[in-house]
């Protein structure tokens, strides 16, 4: 027995030999091809349903998306070979599906074509993705720019105050005919800042300060700057009437604080602050108060004889979808009217793809977030971990806030559905998020390569 065991051991490669991790770039390529094919299929389905013929731009659309995805794939292959193979295909599929939905809605609004511009923005987004993957060799470089990030984020957030309000919210700036939403870019910068700051100060935050009952309060010296940043950003957002983004930043802040310090007290404080803020804002801001009323009674305007409001129309669209949906191009979500291609894009997905399609979209987001968390778990250094968790939470919270809003789960706050919704800044930002997650996941898995897994 023992002799046989020894012979087996010697037949094995030497225990000290390095173990190569599979890089899985082939898997990624196959999934990208699948994602592009699915998008082209959706594009064709719209044309067939509407006109009975294949839409004229199908080949061009497919080729464009395919080339973009392939270039991104090549960049990953070149500079982030260990990266998670799911992140890029999910991004491609969601972006492709978003383009299909916007193209489909363009057919209903011949005077307002949004798909071509969205394709241009997607190209810019993928270009940024490639740039980040090529130029940012190590995510830890970002740690050097902690305060640059926060200043840049604050500047970007303040900028739209100088521009006129659009639809009640001062969140856009107009440059040369383009509307840019700087708050979108600020999200990533703030996530980087939070991650870097908390990584540097987490022990101080966690272990110093007075103890009140079971809560360990941090010292004012450490807490000061971060609360100040939070106050400024939230204050600016309330000035800009953009409740959704404010909620998003706050959620991100609490999640990262909890992960960094491990103190449940932070969650209690966070929830308390959130509740106070919600009540105060709900009381003081008529705009926000109206949103809450609409959420509680979505059909009140119908009973009042004023017709269905946007949320009611959105609910009607989801309801019409049922289990399997009406089929692409065959729904009437355009009845929602304003913002049907941006904030309410999910209603089109829900109506035309049904609960099945909508769940699939949610699960895609879920998978994207899960891959982000996975990278965070695999990394060993705190900045990378916090960055990965922060970016993944950013996506998760944003999806929840807007998807929950349009399906009547929570009060509606205007926000872009990542990748799906019309909006250039949002698409570019989300590609940057995917690029950073990819970089972090590459580092996470690279560290195990060439090592004994034990």
């Amino acid at each position: 027995m023992s002799k046989a065991g020894i012979t087996v051991a010697t037949a094995d490669p030497p225990a000290s030999a390095v173990r190569r991790l599979p890089r899985r770039r082939g898997v990624e390529l196959a999934l990208i091809v699948l994602a592009v094919l699915l998008s082209v299929y959706g594009y064709c389905a719209v044309g067939l349903a509407r006109h009975g013929t294949l839409p004229p731009g199908a080949a061009g659309y497919g080729a464009g998306l395919g080339v973009l995805a392939l270039l991104a794939h090549l960049a990953v292959r070149l500079r982030a070979p260990y990266a998670d193979p799911l992140l890029l295909p999910i991004g491609v599929l969601l972006n492709g599906l978003g383009l299909v939905l916007i193209y489909r809605l363009d057919l209903e609004t011949p005077g307002d074509r949004a798909a071509p511009a969205q394709l241009v923005w997607s190209t810019l987004g993928v270009a940024l993705f490639i740039l980040v993957v090529l130029l940012l060799r190590d995510h830890r470089v970002l740690q050097r720019y902690t305060y640059v990030c926060v200043v840049a984020a604050l500047v970007l957030l303040t900028l739209p105050i100088l521009f006129p309000a659009v639809n009640g919210a001062r969140i856009w700036i107009r440059v040369a005919g383009f509307s840019i939403q700087p708050g979108e870019f600020a999200k990533v910068l703030l996530a980087v800042f939070f991650a870097a700051y908390l990584a540097a100060n987490r022990s101080a935050l966690a272990f110093t300060g007075r103890r009140v009952w079971r809560l360990q309060l941090p010292t004012g010296r450490v807490l000061g700057p971060i609360v100040a940043v939070w106050l400024v950003s939230v204050g600016v957002l309330i000035l800009e009437h953009d409740l959704g983004t404010s909620l998003l930043f706050f959620g991100l802040f609490v999640v990262l604080l909890y992960v960094a310090t491990g103190r449940t007290g932070w969650i209690a404080v966070g929830l308390l602050l959130a509740a106070l803020g919600a009540v105060a804002v709900g009381r003081l801001e008529p705009h926000v108060h109206g949103r809450i009323e609409t959420w509680l009674h979505p059909f009140a305007s119908i009973e009042a004889g004023e017709g269905a409001n946007q949320l009611a129309q959105s609910l009607f669209a989801f309801a019409e979808g049922g289990l399997l949906g009406t089929g692409l191009g065959l729904g009437h979500s355009v009845l929602i009217g304003f913002a049907v291609k941006s904030d309410f894009i999910l209603a089109t997905a829900g109506e035309e793809l049904g609960l099945a399609g909508l769940s699939a979209v949610f699960l895609l987001y879920g998978l994207l977030v899960e891959r982000g968390f996975r990278a965070g778990l695999d990394l060993r250094e705190p900045f990378g971990r916090l960055l990965a968790v922060g970016l993944a939470s950013l996506v998760a919270l944003q999806v929840f806030v807007i998807a929950g809003g349009v399906t009547g789960l929570i009060p509606l706050t205007g926000m872009a559905m990542p990748f799906l919704a019309q909006g250039g800044s949002s698409v570019v930002t989300n590609w940057a998020i995917v690029a950073l997650l990819l970089r972090v996941s590459d580092s996470a898995r690279r560290q195990y390569d060439g090592q004994d897994p034990r």
Partner: protein, 492 residues
């Protein structure tokens, strides 16, 4: 830190589950409720997404659909709106549907599950079938003749084929054009306001949805009851009736418009339309038998649908003898639709058998294959065949030498009965002129058409012959039209 990352991940998973559960709530659990919400325009959009099926008269569609390129895409059009409005009704995006457009809406709009290629197929694919067509029994020539005859008057015409119950003409005047009501804009709202405010009530289908006191035309029913009950056995025997006739149990004395009614025979009384004789006969027949005969002819039937519901014609069943006397000459609470009186004439023409009238010959798929046919309808024996033969003779005499001479058609056997119905408080209103008749072509074995005509506010003196003056020519025109179109297409 790892533990806390897991916690945060768990929190995100919780958010995902919340979204999924909520999506299922909206899309599955509450979906039916949301779909039914009146502010949800999807059912309307689907309904008007494709052209509505057509209603056919004489093999040609009298309706159409217009592509408006609007949200509610297709609008109804009518080729001969006012002529066929009492049959088609309207199909409005704002005000719903009426008459055939309403009764056959499932077929016309394509929602009828029978239109699907396989059972449950449309539920599965969410497709909606194209609208099927409704083929009517109408004879366009008869319809046109009736419409022309009523031009400028207020009244109605109903014509049926006695042997089958097929409705050959159904006209109400004044009529209206249903097309302006089709859309959903301000024009439709204006048309609606104008039509509903019109004192002449053009949207009322007087042929099937309005009842009138039938007056002397009801004497056909009373005569049938008297002959069937054996109260009268010999048409030429004196009936032992005084003139004037004191209504039993009252001091009121019923008079006649014609002279020579005292003790007249049934033949003479029918030709002269003697109120006294028929009031007395009704009392002698008795309430039970009068009611039974009236029921057999179709009175008091609230469920008649052709396929749209027909107003209930009434013969009161709780009467004292004086009321029975009045009811037997078509007054008091006796009321009938023109269609009901056409059925009375048809029963006489058809050997005593009453065929349930119908308007839809068949419904077809868009391609023309048959979806459903009228099939066999109910038959009732309203009187003995021998009674029908005798009544036919009586009715022919009315046309040949009585009050209905203006209905005579050269070369055809025509039988008829005039009537003038008084109405209003103390009979102050202008009387209704009635004429019911049937006609048998020279080469036909049985009568091929039975008609009832009513003209409101007959511009004549209150004489019994006003039915013969106003209404009989219209009836003749309709009967002629039917006989002519039958000559052209024998056997149809």
């Amino acid at each position: 830190m790892t533990r806390h990352i897991r916690h945060a991940g768990f929190f995100c998973a919780l958010l995902l589950v919340a979204l999924l559960v909520n999506a299922a709530r909206v899309q599955v659990v509450q979906a039916p409720e949301y779909d039914r919400n009146p502010a949800n325009r999807r059912p309307d959009i689907t309904r008007y997404e494709r052209p509505r099926g057509d209603i056919l008269v004489g093999g040609r569609p009298v309706t159409g659909s217009k592509d408006t390129r609007e949200h509610l895409r297709f609008e109804r059009t009518y080729a001969d709106g006012p002529l066929y409005a009492p049959v088609t009704g309207f199909a409005s995006q704002l005000y719903g549907t009426t008459l055939l457009e309403n009764a056959e809406d499932g077929v016309l709009s394509g929602s009828d599950p029978m239109l699907a290629p396989f059972p449950l197929w449309n539920d599965f694919t969410r497709a909606r079938s194209s609208g099927g067509h409704v083929v009517t029994t109408l004879d366009p020539a008869a319809q046109r003749a009736a419409f022309k005859g009523l031009a400028g008057l207020k009244g109605a015409v109903a014509a049926v084929e006695p042997a089958t119950g097929r409705i050959l003409a159904l006209v109400s005047a004044p009529s209206y054009d249903p097309q302006p009501l089709s859309g959903n804009g301000t024009a439709a709202a204006r048309a609606w306001a104008r039509l509903t405010a019109d004192e002449d009530r053009p949207m009322l289908n007087r042929a099937a949805r309005q009842t009138y006191p039938p007056g002397s035309t009801f004497k056909v029913v009373t005569a049938a009851a008297a002959l069937d009950a054996g109260v009268v056995t010999d048409l030429d025997a004196p009936t032992d009736s005084p003139d004037p006739y004191p209504l039993p149990g009252t001091r009121t004395r019923l008079k006649n418009a014609a002279r020579g009614c005292a003790d007249a025979s049934l033949r003479k009384a029918f030709t002269l339309s003697c109120n006294t004789v028929f009031a007395k006969l009704g009392v002698e027949v008795g309430l039970r038998d009068m009611t039974a005969t009236a029921h057999a002819f179709g009175f008091n039937n609230a469920d008649l649908a052709i396929p749209f519901p027909v107003a209930r014609s009434t013969f009161d069943t709780t009467l004292d003898r004086a009321q029975l006397a009045l009811s037997s000459i078509g007054q008091y609470n006796t009321r009938a639709t023109p269609l009901q009186m056409a059925m009375v004439a048809a029963a006489v023409a058809n050997g005593g058998q009453v065929r349930e009238p119908y308007l839809v010959e068949r419904t077809t798929r868009p391609g023309g294959s048959v979806l459903a046919t009228a099939g066999s309808r109910g038959v009732r024996q309203a009187m003995y065949p021998s009674t029908a033969v005798r009544l036919r003779a009586l009715m022919r005499e009315v046309v040949e030498e009585g009050t209905g001479r203006r209905a005579a058609i050269r070369g055809a056997k025509v039988g008829g009965k005039t009537g003038t119905a008084q109405h209003g408080l103390g009979n102050s209103g202008m009387p209704y002129a009635w004429f019911v008749s049937w006609a048998q072509g020279a080469r036909d074995l049985t009568p091929s058409v039975a008609v009832a005509v009513v003209v409101e506010d007959a511009e004549e003196e209150r004489r019994d012959i006003s039915g013969g003056g106003d209404a009989a020519p219209i009836a003749r025109a309709v009967m002629e039209a039917v006989l002519k179109s039958r000559d052209r297409a024998p056997g149809s």
